[in-house]
Amino acid sequence: MWQIEVGTTTGKVYVTLIVLAFLALFLGFIPVMQALPPRGRRALIALITFFAGLVFAAEFFLPVDKKGENWLSPAIDPAQNTLQIIGAMALALGTYGLIRLHLRNIVQQRSQWGYSVVLIVAFLTMGFFSVWKTLAEKGELRQTEFLQKGFTLLFDNMLVPLEATMFSLIAFYIFSAAYRAFRIRSIEASILMFTAMMVMIGIVSLGNIISYSWLGLPIEQTAEMEQNPFSLRNIGYNLALPRIAYWILQALNAPVQRAIEFGVGIAGLAMAIRLWLSLERGIT
C-alpha cells in the first residue's frame, strides 16, 4: 500500500506528480498559516516541537518485550530518515545564507565586493565538481579524467591545505600568548600553570629523556614493586615525569572532568525539557 511500482517511466512520472502535488499543498498552506495570529503560530511551532520529541522520548521510556522493542520502535527508522533529510537541508541553509550575503555585496557594490566575486566563483566551480563527483560515484553520471583531475586539484591541493593552514595559525597565537598573556597572577593561575607544565613535559618524550635517559628511573613496574608500594624502587618508578603526568590526568583530572560532565549532563537535561515544551522565551 505504501509502495508503488517505479520500474517503468510511468511509475517515475507518477512519483514526480505526487511530489509536485505535496509541493503545491505546502505552498497552499502558506496563506492559511500566515492568517494565524502570533499566539496561533507559537502554538503550531510548539506542537510540532513536542511531537517530534515525543516519538523518541516515548520509545525510550515505554516498557519493552523480550526482543527489546515496544510498539513505537518501528517508528524509529522512518523518524531517523526524516531527521537525515531535514538535517541535510538545515546544513545547506548555512551555505544559502553565505552565498546570499555575498551576492548582495556584489549587487550593491559594497566595499571590498571584489572578494565576494572570488568567493562566488570558487563556490560555483567547486560546487560543479563536487556534485558531479558525487553523482558519478552513484553511477548517475560518467566518471571522466577531467573530473578526477579537476576535483583533486580543487580539493586535495587547495581546500585541504587552506583549511589545514588556517587551523595551524592557532599554534602561533598560543605561542605569542604564552609569552605575553599567560601570567601567574593568582593562586588559581599558578595551580593551572604548574599542572599544565607537568602534563606538557610528561606526555611527550621530553619527560622520557629527563626521567629515564638522564635520571635512570625504573621504566617497568615489576610484581615485586606492586607488592610493597612504598619500596624505594616503586616510589622511583612513580616519580618519573611520564608517570606523574599520567597520575595527574587519571587521578586528579578524571574526577574534575566527571563533575563537569555531571554539570553539563544535568544542564543539558534541563535545557532539553525547556526546549521540548517550548518554555524558552528568548528564541521561540
Partner: protein, 274 residues
C-alpha cells in the same frame, strides 16, 4: 554499558523524572512570582571592580560576545552586557560592543538602547558603538585586536561561546593593559582565559550570572531545579560509596544505582524471583 531503553534499569527513569519535576516545578514557582534565591557569584564582584577601575582611566570599555550564533547563550551574554552598560552609564564611560553575527548585532542594538534608557541616560546611546566587524573567525579577531590597540581600551568583557581566536583578544588586551573579565561555557577556552584574564566565570556560573541579573523566571527555575539534581547526585555518591565500602562494590544495591541491568539484578536478589 549503555541504555537502549529506560527498561534497562528503571532507576534511570526515576532519576530523569525527579530532575524533570524539580526543573518544571521551580519554573512554575518562578512564573507564579515566587522569589527564587540565586547567590551572587564572585564573578559579579570582579565585574563591578573592573567597571570601577575603568572609569578612573576614562578610556572606553569593550564587550565581546565572540562568535556566538544567535540563541540561548547569545541572549544571556546580552543580559550581562546590559548590566555592564547600565553601570558605566553613571560614569559616562564610552563603550564598544563588537559582534560577529548579524542577528546578534541587531538584537544587541535594542539591548544597549534599553540599557541606557533604564539607566536614565538615553542621550548616551550611540548606534555606532555596537558594531558588526565580520562573520569570519580570524577577520573578526584581527578587527577586535585592532580596535583594542587603537583605543587603548581600559576594560574588556568577553561573554559567550569562544573558540581559538579568544587568545588574540586576551593577548592584545594584556598588551594594552586592559582589565579583562571573561565568562564562557566553552570549556576548551576556559584554561586560556584563566591565565590571561583578571577573572574567569566558568561553565554553569555563566548561566547563574545571567539568571541573577535578568531574574527571568525560566532561567531561575531551571537553575534551582539543576541545583536540586546536583545535590541528589552528591547524596547518591555519598550513600553509594559508603555502601560499596561496607557491602562490597559488586553488591546488587550498587548495581541498582545506574548500571544497565541493575534493576532486575536487585529485585532478583531481594525477592529471589524467577
Amino acid at each position: 554499558m549503555s541504555y537502549q531503553h529506560a527498561a534497562d534499569n528503571w532507576f534511570s527513569a526515576i532519576i530523569i523524572a525527579l530532575i524533570a519535576t524539580a526543573v518544571l516545578l521551580n519554573i512554575a514557582r518562578a512564573k507564579a512570582g515566587a522569589q527564587l534565591y540565586i547567590r551572587r557569584i564572585p564573578g559579579l564582584d570582579a565585574i563591578d571592580e573592573a567597571i570601577g577601575r575603568s572609569t578612573e582611566m576614562g578610556r572606553p570599555v569593550t564587550m565581546i560576545p565572540g562568535l556566538t550564533a544567535f540563541g540561548v547563550v547569545a541572549v544571556q551574554s546580552l543580559t550581562i552586557f546590559k548590566y555592564i552598560t547600565k553601570q558605566i552609564a553613571k560614569f559616562v564611560t564610552p563603550m564598544r560592543l563588537l559582534t560577529a553575527d548579524a542577528t546578534v548585532y541587531a538584537v544587541a542594538q535594542e539591548a544597549i538602547q534599553d540599557a541606557y534608557n533604564e539607566a536614565g541616560r538615553p542621550d548616551l546611546y550611540d548606534p555606532d558603538n555596537v558594531r558588526f566587524l565580520s562573520d569570519r573567525q580570524f577577520a573578526f579577531a584581527s578587527g577586535v585586536a585592532g580596535l583594542l590597540q587603537r583605543e587603548r581600551v581600559a576594560a574588556s568583557f568577553m561573554f559567550g561561546e569562544f573558540f581559538a581566536e579568544s587568545l588574540i583578544f586576551a593577548e592584545t588586551g594584556n598588551i594594552v593593559g586592559a582589565i579583562q573579565i571573561a565568562g564562557t561555557i566553552s570549556f576548551t577556552q576556559v584554561p586560556f582565559f584563566v591565565v590571561a584574564c583578571d577573572y574567569t566565570i566558568i561553565g554553569d556560573e555563566f548561566y547563574a550570572t545571567s539568571a541573577y541579573l535578568s531574574r527571568e523566571p525560566v532561567l531561575l527555575g531551571s537553575l534551582v531545579g539543576q541545583d536540586i539534581a546536583k545535590l541528589l547526585f552528591i547524596l547518591i555518591i555519598i550513600v553509594g560509596v559508603i555502601a560499596a565500602t561496607t557491602l562490597g562494590k559488586d553488591d546488587e544495591f550498587i548495581k541498582l544505582l545506574g548500571m544497565p541491568g541493575g534493576w532486575d539484578a536487585f529485585w532478583k536478589a531481594i525477592f529471589g524471583g524467577s
